[in-house]
């Protein structure tokens, strides 16, 4: 661009001199490149953190030429020029030693251009909301199209400060006035904004653009980069949305990715990115290659409570392993999966042979449609035959199934699906309509054949039925019957009762381990016949060799399972096992009058009931026992990240409670007893500190020590999906998953769960875990659900009991003095001093389980009321 020897004046932020003055030798240099229309000010938090880090880094944040406070060159500098400019600058600065590039927006591309040109110095790349490639078949974002439009371009970017203002308005929460002012400061006056306009004009909207070859060169070059990469992303970005992140991940598949849910384009303003960047640099060193924290895991000498039988390595059998055998074996004509209709009849079923065949055919058809190893396929199909076939077909192809259930609510589901960036969506019509309206990503496949017009509106390409047909006629079957146990297989979602739902990634090996754990712990083997009223376990049915039937219910709303529907399903297959959530069981008990004599007879045949998803109160189980007189009733404890973790039966619950009351077993009591670890699992706790956190990393199992519960098992999740920071925190005790639950062991080795770590109340001198007092209060005769929460500053909180009364109170507010005294007395017996007692007509609970109380909301409400505000509703 410039003739050799041209001198340009740059403005940059650099802590190098400061470090030198302190006599500190930095580990390396962060070379930070802003985008359009910001300047080096964007990286100020990295500068401060770089100087103060335990192992300091030099941080050089540049203002690109024609931008910020750097020289106005009077030229139109294109992408290739800017990459050269940056190289000239780094030469002039004499940057030696390892360099990690940091980029944002179009600065991301330029930083990557520098990275490719300096392989000998490059130690890593950090990217925030940027893009290197316009994914095929998609247009550039509307906001940029507008800025590029000839009518708008000059006025919008240069003549006026509109482009600056719009960019600044993308911050969530909004920027304060002084920060907005700082971003605007170097761009006062149209003459200082020429660079802003040129930057926009240099966006290669198509292949004919002069900068297109350079962009393509960088985008393709990325695939060769093997240095550690970190992507920090704000998904609320109208320009660089999740699909660009997905594209970058496909080029740098080894990258660590963290999406800050709720943050936007200016992610460096919306969230603290300095802490994660330097944590990441500490892990990756920047110099001596990439040691992953998991590789450092040592478990030598730590204590754990476990079932001795660890599964032997090398025995991996994929989830679908036995299906082929069954499909051709002697029982191939028997029913494998079935669905019930509301009238009590079987509405649909497949034999083992048909199931195997359908899975193979669909897998072939999906492969034809472009689904391959690593493709992400979102399944928006209610539990039943279609979901089972689709799930196993995807797994066989090595695709990653994304299962976002309606229990997350529409908003939560949309967030989850956008974050997981599915390549394909297989859905029922209703789900596809939502996907079309709300712009959820992925090519769309309907369950049923839809009329052409409807297909067009919903953007549906094909249907499961059509794909099965194509697959069946495709000739050669699937190439292999194996899978890489370490390859990703599924993304499930947490219920989101403690913040936005998190994607949880499982490998094939972990799914297979889940199957084996369920088989070993509960003795569910081939030949078992199960009623699947609870989705996560239900999908394991075919893998376990068990016949599964889906009862007639709205599976997204567990409360819709009636006793009659349960009995009908049990009758249809002579069920031996029932899976049902606690909320479903409540409704079953409430509707048990509707069960016929034949239905009762079928229910008498049930040998095992598993109820999971939320704590199941003992009185509820005792009533269920009368309906299922021969069944062993189990309430496994677990979480989306580890299903299941422990197991306990009704009889064991009763024994544990009796021992807690009698005080005969040390540590028994104060919480819900969830029993002992399931097959293959180990448990321990990290003790709580006085401030209500679990800061240490000592895994202990002494009776009576309360701490954050740790679990280790072959079926624990691989990672949180695109949540590098969250994953790192959850795995901070090497070899363990931190559950975020608190509890303790008793002397008999049973685990007692005391609540969520985030819900611990810190009263003066005492850390109060909620569950013990809640259970004591719930034993009062006129109480439904109780919640213990705290108001006031951490460390000196006042303990508050929020109680749902039976019958419900007319309105929410202060309890009567008499009732308050009874609640206070009950809590005192559990060792908790309660300051105030509030009553509510109904506790706010989550959609998925109808059981997890929204404590954040409750605590906010209690704080308002008890400060003297108007009660209103929680």
């Amino acid at each position: 661009m410039d003739t050799p020897g041209t001198v340009r004046r740059w403005h940059l932020l650099d802590n190098g001199a400061q470090l030198a003055r302190r006599g500190v030798a930095p580990v390396g240099t962060l070379l930070c490149v802003h985008g359009n229309p910001t300047w080096s000010y964007l990286w100020r938090t990295l500068l401060a953190a770089g100087s103060n880090a335990a192992r300091p880094w030099r941080v050089v944040a540049v203002d690109q030429l024609d931008m910020g406070y750097s020289e106005r060159s009077g030229t139109f500098r294109r992408l290739a020029d800017r990459v050269n400019d940056l190289g000239d600058l780094s030469d002039a600065l004499g940057l030696d030693g390892p360099v990690v590039t940091v980029g944002h927006d179009w600065g991301g591309v330029i930083s990557l251009g520098w990275a490719l040109a300096h392989p000998e110095q490059l130690a890593g790349v950090v990217l925030t909301n940027t893009a290197v490639h316009q994914p095929a078949g998609s247009e550039i974002p509307p906001a940029l199209r507008l800025a590029l439009h000839p009518v708008v371009h000059r006025w919008g970017t240069t003549t006026s400060d509109a482009f600056l203002r719009v960019t600044h308005s993308l911050a969530h929460p909004p920027l304060s006035a002084d920060i907005r002012e700082a971003y605007m400061a170097p761009y006062r006056g149209a003459r200082r904004r020429a660079g802003v306009g040129n930057f926009v004009a240099d966006i290669p909207a198509d292949a004919s653009h002069p900068s297109f070859p350079e962009l393509t060169r960088i985008a393709e070059g990325l695939r060769r980069l093997k240095v550690p990469a970190l992507m920090l992303w704000g998904p609320r970005d109208p320009i660089f949305s999740d699909r660009y992140l997905k594209d970058l991940v496909s080029r740098l598949p080894h990258a660590d990715v963290h999406r800050f849910e709720g943050a936007g384009h200016l992610v460096a303003e919306d969230r603290d990115i300095a802490t994660p960047v330097f944590q990441w640099l500490a892990v990756h060193g920047g110099v001596s290659g990439s040691g992953s924290p998991a590789a450092e895991a040592t478990t030598a000498g730590d204590q754990r409570l476990n079932d001795a039988a660890e599964p032997a390595p090398g025995t991996f059998r994929p989830l679908w392993d036995s299906l082929g055998e069954r499909g051709t074996g002697p029982a191939k004509g028997d029913i494998a999966v079935a669905e019930m209709a509301p009238d009590g009849k079987v509405s649909r079923s497949l034999s083992w042979h048909q199931l195997d065949r359908n899975i193979r055919d669909l897998a072939s058809g999906l492969r034809e449609a472009g689904v391959g190893s690593g493709s992400r396929v979102s399944l928006m199909v209610p539990p039943g035959v279609d979901l089972t076939v689709a799930l196993y077909a995807c797994l066989r192809l090595g695709a990653v199934v994304v299962v976002a259930d309606a229990g997350l609510g529409t908003k939560g589901m949309g967030r989850a699906l956008k974050g997981a960036t599915a390549d394909f969506v297989i859905g029922i019509e209703k789900a596809l309509a939502a996907a079309a309206v709300l712009g959820w990503p992925g090519r769309r496949i309907s369950v049923r054949d839809l009329p052409a017009a409807r297909r067009r509106i919903l953007g549906v390409e094909t249907s499961l039925a059509a794909l099965v047909g194509q697959g069946g006629s495709a000739g050669p079957g699937l190439p292999t019957n194996t899978a890489d146990p370490a390859a990703p297989a599924a993304v499930l979602f947490t219920s989101g009762s403690t913040g936005p739902a998190k994607g949880v990634l499982y490998t094939h090996g972990q799914l297979a381990a889940m199957r084996d754990t369920v088989a070993e712990t509960f003795g569910i083997r081939s030949g078992a016949r199960l009623v699947a009223g609870f989705a996560p376990f239900a999908l394991l049915g075919p893998a376990l060799g068990a016949v599964s039937v889906t009862p007639a219910m709205d599976v997204t709303a567990p409360r819709t399972l009636t006793a009659r529907a349960l009995a009908d399903a049990a009758t249809a297959i002579d069920a031996t096992v029932v899976f049902a959530s606690p909320a479903a069981l409540r409704n079953v008990l409430a509707t048990q009058d509707g069960v016929s004599a034949a239905g009762h007879k079928a229910l008498e045949g049930v040998e095992l009931l598993l109820s999971a998803g939320a704590p199941v109160p003992e009185p509820l189980l005792a009533r269920v026992q009368r309906l299922l007189p021969r069944a062993s009733l189990h309430t496994p404890y677990g979480m989306t990240e580890a299903l299941p973790v422990t197991d306990i039966s009704l009889a064991q619950v009763q024994a544990a409670d009796a021992e807690a009351t009698a005080g005969t077993v040390a540590g028994a009591g104060n919480g819900v007893c969830v029993g002992k670890p399931v097959h293959g699992a180990s448990l321990a706790v990290v003790p709580l500190a006085a401030d209500g956190t679990a800061p240490g990393s000592d895994a202990v199992t002494e009776a009576g020590v309360t701490g954050e519960i740790l679990v280790s098992a072959p079926h624990v999740k691989e990672a949180y999906d695109r949540l590098w920071l969250t994953q790192r925190e959850s795995a901070s005790v090497p070899g363990w998953h931190r559950t975020g639950d608190v509890g303790h062991f008793d002397a008999a080795g049973r685990l007692w769960v005391e609540g969520r770590l985030a819900h611990v109340v810190t009263a003066p001198g005492v850390v109060v875990t909620p569950v013990g007092a809640e259970r004591a209060i719930e034993r009062l005769d006129c109480v439904g659900l109780a919640a213990i929460t705290g108001v006031g500053p951490a460390g000196t909180q006042a303990v508050v009991a929020v109680v749902e009364t039976v019958p419900p109170s007319r309105k929410a507010g202060l309890a009567s003095p008499q009732f308050a005294e009874r609640v206070r007395g009950a809590a005192r017996e559990a060792g908790v001093d309660v300051s105030a007692v509030l009553v509510v007509p109904a506790q706010p609970t989550d959609v998925r389980h109808n059981a997890k109380i929204d404590r954040t909301r409750l605590s906010r409400w209690a704080s308002r009321v008890l400060a003297g505000g108007r009660p209103g509703e929680p």
């Binding site: 108001v791 500053p793 507010g813 202060l814 003095p817 008890l866 400060a867 003297g868 108007r870």
Partner: protein, 327 residues
């Protein structure tokens, strides 16, 4: 130790003097009426009288200054004279007499501008924003007292929050009198969390301050039972102990605060002596949260309350002959 206690005829002052006597100290009491404290030397006089104060302070090593004009009503000059100038005189006399330690008994209202207090420590006294003459003059006096702190004359301020007990005319008798005439409303449903101090606990904390001067001088400390309760429940507890029906009607807090402010003005202007039916101060006390972080106080004083809220209510019930615990 020889200790002078001013204002020993009040509920709290008497309890402080008695406790010091029990601990074996030589106690001088100073107030206008007889203190009625056995074992103490009683000096009669007013804090507006320099000569009397000098006499009382003679030979004392420690002073606990409680004497104050405590009221919802009255003219500003009266509060200034007793609370501000009276404190100035006490400080002067004590210094002149060679006193080493002085505990100024203050009130959390010196730092309260009417908003809810949720688990805070002792914020600085703020006469400009304190509501009402009492709080304003106590705030000025506390600043005076703490400014006098030095290595040879150590001064600490202790702020007990809402002191009550049997025979208490400030809170208990007022609540009972109003409730028995059905003139005690619950403001905003009575859910505001309020911490209080049973008189024995307030007295032991004040005496503890005198013994722990090396840790507490030069600063204010809020003292309370550390048992916040919804105000409605607290009032119901007091009413049950006093055998009167609990308040049953509710008024929005904002209305009561506004009405209280008006009534307060009229009462002061008209010079009426009896307590007004509602004041802004009272409305604030009854409708916004007031509770405090007690961790530092307890650590510095090496003290904790010995009478719980419920024990206190039970003692109140015995006092009023209702005989049974309010629960």
């Amino acid at each position: 130790m020889r200790v002078l206690v001013t204002g020993a005829s009040g509920l709290l002052g008497r309890e402080v003097a008695r406790l010091l006597v029990r601990q074996g100290h030589a106690v001088t009491t100073f107030q206008r009426r007889p203190s009625g404290v056995d074992g103490a030397t009683d000096f009669r006089g007013s804090v507006t009288d320099d000569a009397a104060l000098r006499g009382a302070a003679e030979g004392a090593e420690g002073v606990i200054h409680l004497a104050a004009k405590v009221s919802f009503t009255g003219r500003a000059v009266e509060f200034d004279e007793v609370n501000v100038e009276g404190t100035r005189r006490v400080l002067r006399s004590a210094r002149a007499a060679g006193v080493r330690d002085l505990v100024f008994v203050s009130s959390p209202s010196v730092a309260n501008s009417g908003t809810a207090i949720v688990g805070l420590g002792a914020e600085p006294a703020d006469p400009k924003h304190a509501h009402g003459n009492y709080s304003r003059t106590k705030a000025e006096a506390e600043l005076l007292a703490l400014a006098a702190d030095g290595p040879d004359f150590r001064v600490a301020a202790v702020r007990p929050h809402i002191v009550w007990g049997p025979g208490d005319t400030q809170l208990v008798e007022r609540v009972l009198a109003r409730a028995s005439r059905n003139r005690l409303p619950l403001l905003d449903a009575g859910a505001a969390l309020i911490d209080t101090t049973y008189v024995d606990n307030a007295a032991s904390a004040i005496v503890a301050a005198l013994h722990r001067m090396e840790h507490v001088h030069g600063r204010p400390l809020v003292v309370s039972n550390g048992e916040p309760r919804p105000v409605g429940e607290l009032l119901a507890g007091i009413c049950a102990a006093g055998c009167v029906p609990a308040p049953s009607w509710a008024v929005p807090g904002g209305v009561a605060r506004a009405a209280g402010a008006v009534v307060e003005k009229i009462w002061t202007w008209s010079g009426r002596k009896e307590e007004p039916p509602m004041t802004r101060f009272l409305a604030e006390q009854l409708s916004t949260a007031h509770w405090f972080d007690q961790r530092e106080t307890r650590e510095l004083l090496d003290w904790k309350p010995t009478v719980s809220l419920d024990d206190g209510l039970a003692r109140l019930a015995v006092h009023y002959g209702s005989g049974h615990s309010p629960s």
